[in-house]
Amino acid sequence: MYNASDLRRNLKIQIDNEPYIIIDFQFSKPGKGQALYRCKLRNMINGVIIDRTFRSVDTFEPADLQERRMQYLYNQENEFYFMDVENYEQSMLTLEQVGEAKNYLIDNLEVDILLFENRPIGITLPNFVNLRVTRADPWAKGDSVSGDSKPVTLETGYELRVPPFIDEGTKITVDTRTGEYVTRVKE
């Protein structure tokens, strides 16, 4: 149980049986008045942002969240399936919940799946993922327009710019936080 004085940015609490993360927090106290804790919160399931003002007598349940290490299995239409590496139970996230992470999901990739009351609601990727280039145009020497990078497509369908020496079939490391090329993988 949290008290109002525990409220701070990034704290995860439960409101109306849904998990929220505090994304903005302001303490205010009009002269001689009561302390007010003004929060902007994001619903961790649907992303909706709400404004709430709490008082010092308010208490909060921590959101019942846990992360499980899971392996990506496959996707079918807009559903992405994962398997818990310890108990082999399967979980499913929708395309909306997976979001940008879909650019990095290759078979057997290990990720952390966020569960709220045992229900999967989100995904955390490793910071770096190795992916194979499936389409790359040959580097046109002296092409000054594109500078020192060229566009390629990866096995997940993700498109990004890489240095000109990267060829089709090469494996590269991508930073999942920025979506940018990091290095060529030696095989």
Binding site: S5, Q26, F27, S28, K29, P30, G31, K32, G33, Q34, A35, L36, R38, T53, S56, V57
Partner: protein, 317 residues
């Protein structure tokens, strides 16, 4: 931790404090200018103890316990004892301590300028506030125009004077009476009213509901209101003032009510400040004001956080 992180954090502190240098200089000059103003006007600078046995029982002000006593949340009670003994014009600049108050505009330990004057009403005190801030601003070389958080603020007299009721009518989604009965007065004040106050001139917000002023005198022609005012500049609350209540039994009854409210909320109930109540019997009509000096320094340095005008925040200790 990366190697050398200890070293880089001490470099961080060097940089941080160097960046604060101009603010800390201005803060020091502000203190000097304020002292100069009050000394010129024949006020006596006093110092009263920070460690006291019984803070004023107010429901929303929590004192910090220290060695069997409390750090004073305000110098009010001791200063009024001086006023009651014939000290007719006194001021004090001191640290005050309030538990749980930490935010962009709040510090558990903050600096207050508090002054008292006998034989004057709260409207006279408004005049004196205008005079003080303008004089200090001129001393600091700002003149009558300052820039604070995107607003040009004109300090030229007279400032805006608006009753709390009017402010509710002008800015709030409900009338003051409804905000009070639905216990949303503070919330509406913070969310809907305060952001409009003190632009482009400082605002005196006056005549607060009586139940929000435990130590203030009520208005003669309307006892539902207290002769209390607050000062705002650019949406920031800077000071709280009132005509002092001098009726001992009324004061005792109000303290008793505040103590009961504290008990109901499970908060520490302070001992009744008996010596203060005894002295109050001799207190002449007077006005008093608590002016937040850190916040005034914020206004003159155009700072958006109180941390920018102090050397060390509690988290940096």
């Amino acid at each position: 931790m990366s190697p050398g992180s200890k070293n880089s954090s001490s470099e961080g502190e060097q940089r941080r404090l160097a960046a604060k240098r101009s603010n800390l200089w201005l803060r020091a000059r502000l203190l000097q200018a304020i002292r100069h103003f009050f000394i010129e006007k024949d006020y006596l600078e006093v110092e009263t103890p920070h460690l006291i046995p019984s803070p004023a029982p107010e429901v929303h002000i929590d004192a910090i316990k220290a060695g069997g006593a409390f750090l004073h949340p305000s110098p009010e009670l001791c200063m009024k004892r001086l006023v009651s003994a014939g000290y007719s014009r006194i001021f004090q600049i001191c640290k005050c301590f309030r538990d749980g108050e930490r935010g962009e505009h709040h510090l558990l330990e903050f600096t207050l300028l508090e002054w008292y004057r006998t034989g004057a009403g709260y409207m006279d005190l408004m005049d004196e506030c205008e005079e003080m801030v303008l004089s200090v601003s001129e001393d600091l070389g700002f003149g009558a125009k300052i820039h604070f958080q995107g607003h040009n603020i004109d300090l030229k007299r007279p400032w805006e004077r608006m009753s709390v009721k009017e402010a509710y009518e002008r800015y709030a989604s409900m009338p003051m009476e409804r905000a009070l009965t639905s216990k949303r007065f503070d919330e509406v004040m913070v969310r809907e009213i305060e952001p409009h106050l003190g632009i482009p001139k400082p605002t005196f917000l006056y005549d607060y509901p009586a139940e929000l002023a435990a130590l203030a005198q009520l208005k003669e022609n309307d006892p539902a209101l207290a002769e209390r005012f607050e000062i705002y500049m650019g949406g920031l609350e800077l000071a709280n003032a009132f005509s002092e209540l001098t009726d001992v039994s009324e004061q005792e009854a109000r303290f008793e009510r505040e103590r009961l409210k504290r008990k109901q909320l499970g908060k520490t109930v302070y001992p009744m400040p008996e010596r203060f109540l005894k002295a109050l019997a001799h207190m002449p009509d007077s006005v008093g004001i608590a002016f937040g000096l850190d916040r005034l320094a914020m206004v003159f340095t155009d700072a958006d956080k109180i941390d920018e005008v102090i050397s060390f925040s509690p988290e940096e200790l």
